[in-house]
């Protein structure tokens, strides 16, 4: 192998090029605004001058003599006739002009203060490591105050910037002069270096006058290659076009100056030049029209090349194209092992691995070379020891090469069976979207994969394509093998339970196999055993007469380890069985004793994927992932064979319900239609029960929807109770293979209410959904209720309604994927630079601590047992520790635990103490248990270097697509709307100050919480009530004769809101006196007012607070356990905790910012965790997520003592790395800012190192040689 030198980029410095530097690096001054002459040769001093490099394949560069492939390209330059302002720096130019003296250039701060600031700056550097932007801002603010220079005494004038690039100065006499760029330049030149440092600029790398261009660098031709079209016409790059414009105007301006043309013409020309230079740099500058191509397309100039998704940063720098990869359609193959991937032979002939020829493999290598590129297994290239590479494609006589081959040669050979490969499916939402598989070369054209790994990849076979990568170096291969293999990914880091497991038909098959009445005969048994390669003993048959038969449970048990014990519940049975001794008619109690399935059926709850605490999960935990992978392989092959023998199909007839059932479903629907009619009648008569806080119309809608959903539930219930486990559809539903009870209901009973935006269908025509109905028809049928089932078929109108709801579903999915994708991108960029250090802390790559222990206990979720480091119950069972007779004394227990107190968390100390006491463990058993706990606990700790930030971001982002988008409505008893799902999660990570549905849960103190009436009193006192809330529709009367206004107060409203007459009498307002008499509130203005003033006064009175806490709108008193709790819409934490009667310590809000303001960051951190957790748990059963991920996000968001958003205006925006910010969203402005400040990006984070193309200091990249030759003593 050729010796390679590895160089590491340790930093990238940003700065401005001085005119001197630009001229120095230039190889030619470009003066001609043209590219090629008639012969197609580059014009000297033209834009394609051959000294800038050459594009022609066999031509040599006129500067360095290299050909196009090895010439790095050389810059040219343009000398401007007049100085031109660089658009990117306008902001900084303006800032400097306003805070420095126009005469002497000094900063507008007196000398003593300057010194003070300099000292402060030194101190800050020491205390914080760097000086914050706030400090420089305060200096700038100070300097802006003065209108006279404290150094030379000259008067300063106001400078105004007319966008984009013109500066004006307002002289004292009212005259306005335009500042010529050359004047600005000379002013900037006068600013001393010392003053610039005080403002955060680095004068050694960026003098401000360099921001005004005198010379423009012309990029080499490789940056702007011209393309020759098929017709032979040359087409120039956008940048070349723009440069042509610049040169043309510049030359005209030069001529004009030389010939002494009038100022007007000169100014016009320099403005035009300014325009062209501005658009050359940024063609999206606001205030000027973008420069366009002849075709009308806006030109893509320098800024546009960097920015956005298609820009240099995101397209080429953070995402790179690779060799040794393949992509094709995927298809399933249950005969493969889960860690294999089937690779088509055609692809295998293109992908290679380089192997060095040694005396031990030379024969093999010779054979490969002889086979050549087209015969598998062969080789594509050989490399001689001198570095010459030979492509076997072009060699006609390979036998000569075969003879030549000797140790030291490198052969790039075809990949073979067993080779390690990375397999990936986009979108790569989590780390298990890329896993290492072993290659298996197969015929045909598709990648083949095992069905169990479809879940982590989220793949199906409706045309999905996947990618394959062949790691090339030995290091890469071993890393892939040790860290990325499928079996090491069985446990998901998201929730610490298997994500790879059985699905779909495997579950059906498992259920059918292990069911009570399943028996196999000898022949079938042997077929099944052959499928799993079983070579052990054949168990004795469960039945002998009339022929030997084996039960399905026996067959399944063959796969289990002999010492395995398990108790669990099957999914088929909905009862909550708690003891292994219980009997269940549906075989819902699953018991495994010594590797024998004693009772129960195996289904989703035993072997399913994405389930915690299943039989399969236990096997993974107790016997290791390698065993579990083999178990899953065998299991799938067994079940696959079994269901092929038995057969399984679902027929249309099975969806046909018996007539009497159909009849009762019809009756249910009829009945609820009747109820709805009654409700509508009541509504028309005005006797309908009104739901508090809702209008009558809303109440009616809610009541109808409730009624109809009840009807649907009844129908589904009737339908599913009439179907038994003989029904294949029901089998699939019950064992968790596919579908739900709801789906069965839709197919057999009735499709029920269709909804759009969470409401019954109403849009379309005026007052009706379709012209087939009458105006204002509220009946179920007219508003999208579908009586038919899929079996019966839908009427045209029903079909239409169904399509409306279906369309909404499609739109919803599309919107959701976009939103959650962006959320994930933000999370990744905000957390990528976090890693676990060797001391267990979580730090940023700059060394700032985010958590003192990862997840507060240092446990890696992917090494945990569903979030817990140790499963004590399971440990007891496994160690076979039996309950003792006499309990140990507490002091003895403590003595045992004492030894390990610093190696276990508080949580385990408490749990162990309780367990030892409750189980009456003996001293020896207790010690054994504690020691085993410590061992398991320490095994589950995170590894140093682990990129916990990225794992957290993925774990939170990946389930985003599965979340609901809509605002959730609690219809019925608890009538309140709460934002849940993805929108709520976005609110939390965005750190929004006001959630869209603020809600408070107010707990009461000892006195008020037990008594409903007392609780109600408190609730009434909380409700915010204004005067207008007490009037009927805000009615008032202006009495012109007396000059007063009378507001009619509704006594019943007063009563319902608990307002006393006293309350109203106490109201006051400026400019008028208020009186309350009878049922009227009388406003008497202190002075005469005309009508419009009176109206304004009335408005103010109407908004006057009568009682309650502002922000608290609707209130409900509900029971929670044995206490009364107030649920309030609207939130005002600081107000509510001061109200008597409530318990402030247990009063909560979902407004995180309010918590931050009243209770502090720590409380806010806890609130973020709690709210986010609710989002994940809130949705139907919930999405499983380890709390450590949320804790990390919350700790990052609150790390600076404020709540920071996950995104541009928060965590990512405050990242120290310029490149990381540029790669996220703030591309051009971050780079410009870095240039002015002379920032060095030290390439510590992940994004930066990806951009630089080197290893990131995270994960295995953390390993480095640390050596201190002479350790300095501390304090030096």
């Amino acid at each position: 192998m050729v010796l390679e030198t590895y160089k590491n980029v340790t930093g990238i410095k940003f700065g401005l090029l001085s005119p001197h530097e630009i001229r120095k690096m230039s190889v030619v001054e470009i003066r001609t605004a043209d590219t090629y002459d008639e012969d197609g040769l580059p014009i000297p001093t033209g834009l394609m001058d051959s000294r800038l490099g050459t594009l022609e394949p066999r031509q040599r560069c006129a500067t360095c003599g290299n050909t196009a492939t090895s010439c790095p390209g050389h810059f040219g330059h343009i000398e401007f006739a007049v100085p031109i302002i660089h658009i990117g720096f306008v902001k900084y130019i303006q800032e400097l002009l306003t805070i420095t003296c126009r005469e002497c250039g000094r900063i507008l701060i007196p000398t003593d203060k300057v010194e003070e600031f300099q000292n402060r700056m030194e101190q800050l550097k020491k205390a914080f490591g760097e000086v914050s932007k706030d400090f420089f801002d305060s200096i700038k603010k100070e300097a802006r105050k003065r209108s006279e220079c404290p150094h030379c005494g000259s008067t300063q004038y106001r400078i105004e910037l007319i966008k984009p690039t013109s500066f004006y100065e307002y002289q004292k006499d009212g005259g306005v002069t335009r500042l010529d760029p050359s004047i600005i330049r000379s002013r900037l030149e006068r600013i001393p270096d010392e003053d610039l440092k005080l403002l955060g600029y680095d004068p050694s790398l960026a003098r401000p006058e360099w921001a005004i261009l005198q010379v423009l660098p012309v990029p080499p031709v490789y940056v702007r290659p011209s393309i020759t079209l098929e017709t032979g016409i040359r087409s120039e790059d956008d940048l070349t076009h723009k440069l042509v414009d610049i040169i043309r105007i510049n030359e005209r301006l030069k001529e004009a100056i030389a010939s002494g043309a009038p100022t007007v013409i000169r100014e016009e020309l320099s403005d035009l030049l300014q325009y062209h230079v501005t658009t050359y740099i940024d063609n999206e500058t606001s205030g000027i029209p973008p420069s366009r191509h002849r075709s009308g397309r806006a030109l893509k100039t320098l800024s546009q090349r960097l920015k956005g998704k298609e820009g240099r940063f995101r397209l080429n720098l953070t995402g790179k194209r690779v060799d040794f990869s393949a992509r094709t359609v995927i298809s399933p193959d249950p005969c493969l092992s889960i860690d294999e991937v089937g690779v088509p032979i055609d692809i295998a002939k293109k992908l290679t691995i380089s192997e060095r020829v040694t005396p031990w493999n030379i024969e093999e290598m010779k054979r490969l070379v002889a086979n050549g590129p087209d015969n598998y297994p062969g080789a594509l290239y050989i490399t001689r020891p001198d570095g010459r590479k030979i492509r076997l494609d072009f060699v006609t006589d390979r036998s000569r090469l075969v003879d030549e081959l000797q140790p030291g040669y490198i052969v790039e050979r075809h990949i073979r069976d067993g080779e390690i490969a990375l397999f990936n499916r986009q979108p790569s939402l989590h780390r298990i979207s890329i896993m290492a598989h072993r290659v298996k070369i197969l015929p045909y054209k598709t990648f083949r994969l095992h069905l169990a790994v479809c879940i982590p990849y989220n793949a199906d076979f409706d045309g999905d394509e996947m990618n394959l990568h062949i790691p090339q170096s030995e290091e890469a291969r071993s890393e892939a093998r040790l860290l990325m293999q499928v079996q090491d990914q069985i446990i998901s880091p998201r929730y610490g339970a298997p994500i790879i497991g059985s699905t779909r038909d495997f579950l059906t098959a498992a259920y059918l196999l292990t069911r009570k009445d399943t028996y196999v005969d000898r022949e079938q048994l042997y077929t099944l055993l052959a499928a799993i390669g079983y070579d052990g003993e054949i168990p004795s048959p469960a039945k002998i007469e009339p022929e030997p038969l084996w039960s399905g449970k026996q067959v399944f048990s063959l796969l289990l380890p002999k010492d395995f014990n398990y108790f669990g519940r099957a999914a088929v049975c909905k009862h909550k069985h708690t003891s292994p001794d219980e009997d269940c008619p549906l075989e819902g109690v699953v018991v495994v004793k010594n590797g024998q399935l004693i009772k129960g059926v195996i289904d989703k709850n035993s072997i399913g994927a994405e389930r915690a605490e299943t039989l399969y999960h236990r096997i993974v935990r107790d016997y290791g992932t390698a065993f579990a992978a083999e178990f899953l392989n065998k299991l799938c092959r067994l079940l696959n064979t079994f269901i092929s023998i038995r057969g399984f199909s679902f027929s249309l007839d099975e969806l046909n319900l018996p007539d009497n059932v159909k009849e009762s479903i019809r009756q249910v629907i009829e009945e609820s239609e009747k109820t709805v009619r009654q409700l509508i009648d009541e509504y028309r008569k005005g006797t309908l029960r009104r739901i508090p806080g809702k209008t009558m119309e809303e109440s009616l809608e809610i009541l109808i929807m409730n009624e109809l959903s009840k009807a649907r539930d009844r129908c589904d219930e009737i339908a599913s109770s009439s179907l038994s486990l003989d029904n294949q559809g029901i089998v699939m539903v019950r064992c968790g293979a596919r579908g739900s009870e709801l789906n069965v209901g839709h197919m057999t009973a009735c499709l029920s209410q269709q909804s759009v935006r969470g409401r019954r269908i109403s849009c379309g025509y005026i007052e009706r959904a379709l012209p087939h109905f009458r105006w204002g028809d509220q009946s179920p049928k007219a508003r999208g209720f579908i009586e038919s089932s899929f079996y019966k078929g839908l009427s045209p109108i029903e079909f239409f309604f169904h399509s409306m709801a279906g369309r909404e579903g499609l739109i919803d999915t599309a919107v959701r994927t976009q939103q959650s994708g962006y959320m994930q991108r933000r999370l990744i960029h905000a957390l990528e630079f976090l890693r676990v250090e060797y001391d267990g802390t979580v730090r940023t790559t700059n060394g700032e601590i985010v958590q003192f222990k990862y997840g507060e206990d240092g446990v890696d979720p992917s090494k945990s047992d569903h979030g817990k480091a140790v499963n004590l119950q399971r440990l007891l069972e496994r160690m076979d520790i039996k309950e003792g007779k006499t309990p140990l004394r507490l002091s003895e227990i403590n003595e045992i635990l004492e030894k390990y107190s610093n190696r276990l968390t508080h949580f385990y100390i408490l749990s162990l103490r309780k367990l030892i006491r409750d189980k009456h463990l003996s001293r020896e058993d207790a010690t054994r248990l504690v020691e085993a706990t410590v061992e398991e606990f320490e095994k589950s700790q995170v590894d140093p270097g682990e990129a916990v930030g990225v794992v957290a971001a993925q774990s939170i982002g990946e389930p985003g697509t599965q979340m609901t988008l809509r605002v959730f409505h609690f219809a019925g008893v608890r009538e309140r709307d709460v934002t849940l799902g993805l929108p709520r999660l976005l609110e939390i990570v965005d750190a929004r100050k006001n959630p869209s549905t603020p809600i408070m849960t107010i707990r009461l103190d000892e006195e008020h919480r037990v008594d409903r009436d007392k609780a109600f009193k408190v609730a009434q006192s909380l409700t915010y009530t204004t005067v207008s809330d007490l009037t009927a529709k805000g009615e008032y009367r202006i009495d012109l004769e007396e000059g007063v206004v009378r507001i009619k107060i509704d006594r019943s409203l007063m009563e319902s809101r608990g307002v006393t007459v006293e309350d109203l009498k106490n109201l006051t307002i400026t400019n008028a006196t208020l009186e309350f008499s009878g049922d009227e509130l009388i406003i008497k203005p202190k002075s005469a007012m005309d009508i419009s003033w009176l109206k304004r006064l009335v408005n103010r009175v109407m908004k006057l607070s009568v009682k309650g806490t502002p922000g608290i709108n609707r209130i409900q008193v509900v029971t929670e356990g044995n206490e009364w709790v107030i649920q309030a819409d609207g939130s005002n934490l600081s107000g509510v905790i001061q109200v008597p009667g409530i318990n402030p310590a247990r009063t909560l809000t979902n407004n995180i910012y309010e918590i931050y303001e009243t209770l502090g960051v720590e409380a806010a951190r806890n609130a973020i965790i709690r709210e986010a957790k609710d989002v994940f748990e809130g949705i139907g059963g919930g999405l499983d997520l380890d709390i450590r991920h949320l804790m990390l996000v919350a700790d990052v968001m609150t790390n600076t003592g404020k709540i920071r958003q996950v995104g541009r205006h928060g965590v990512t925006g405050e990242k120290s790395s310029t490149l990381a910010r540029a790669a996220f969203e703030i591309t051009v402005s971050s780079i410009i800012d870095a240039a002015v400040r002379g920032v060095e990006d030290t390439l510590k984070g992940v994004t930066e190192n990806i951009i630089a193309g080197q290893d990131m200091k995270v994960g295995t990249g953390i390993v480095d040689i640390y050596m201190t030759p002479n350790p300095p003593s501390r304090g030096e």
């Binding site: 490591g129 997840g855 979030g867 009682k1107 001061q1138 310590a1145 502090g1160 709690r1170 003592g1201």
Partner: protein
């Protein structure tokens, strides 16, 4: 709110607020040595933070926070008090 009397509430009684306390000079030294860091590497808390205000922390102090943790039972956290 005119008719209601207000009550003063100690936020440390709130279930969301963990215990805060100021570290002594020695403890700070010890902490910095243990993690081999400077003060500014610690997570921060503002002086104006209600909890920091209540225990009378000044910029430059380090606060110890004993959190109730869903994973570890109890967890200790530190924050460096900064201005603003």
């Amino acid at each position: 709110m005119s008719t209601q009397q207000k009550i003063k509430f100690n936020i440390f009684q709130h279930e969301l607020v963990p215990k805060h306390s100021i570290l002594t000079k020695d403890e700070v030294e010890d902490l910095l040595r243990r993690y081999r860091i400077e003060k500014y590497h610690l997570p921060k808390i503002r002086v104006r933070d209600p909890a920091a205000l209540l225990i009378g922390a000044k910029p430059g102090d380090v606060i110890r926070i004993v959190r109730r943790s869903p994973t570890a039972g109890l967890a200790v956290f530190y924050r460096f008090v900064v201005g603003g």
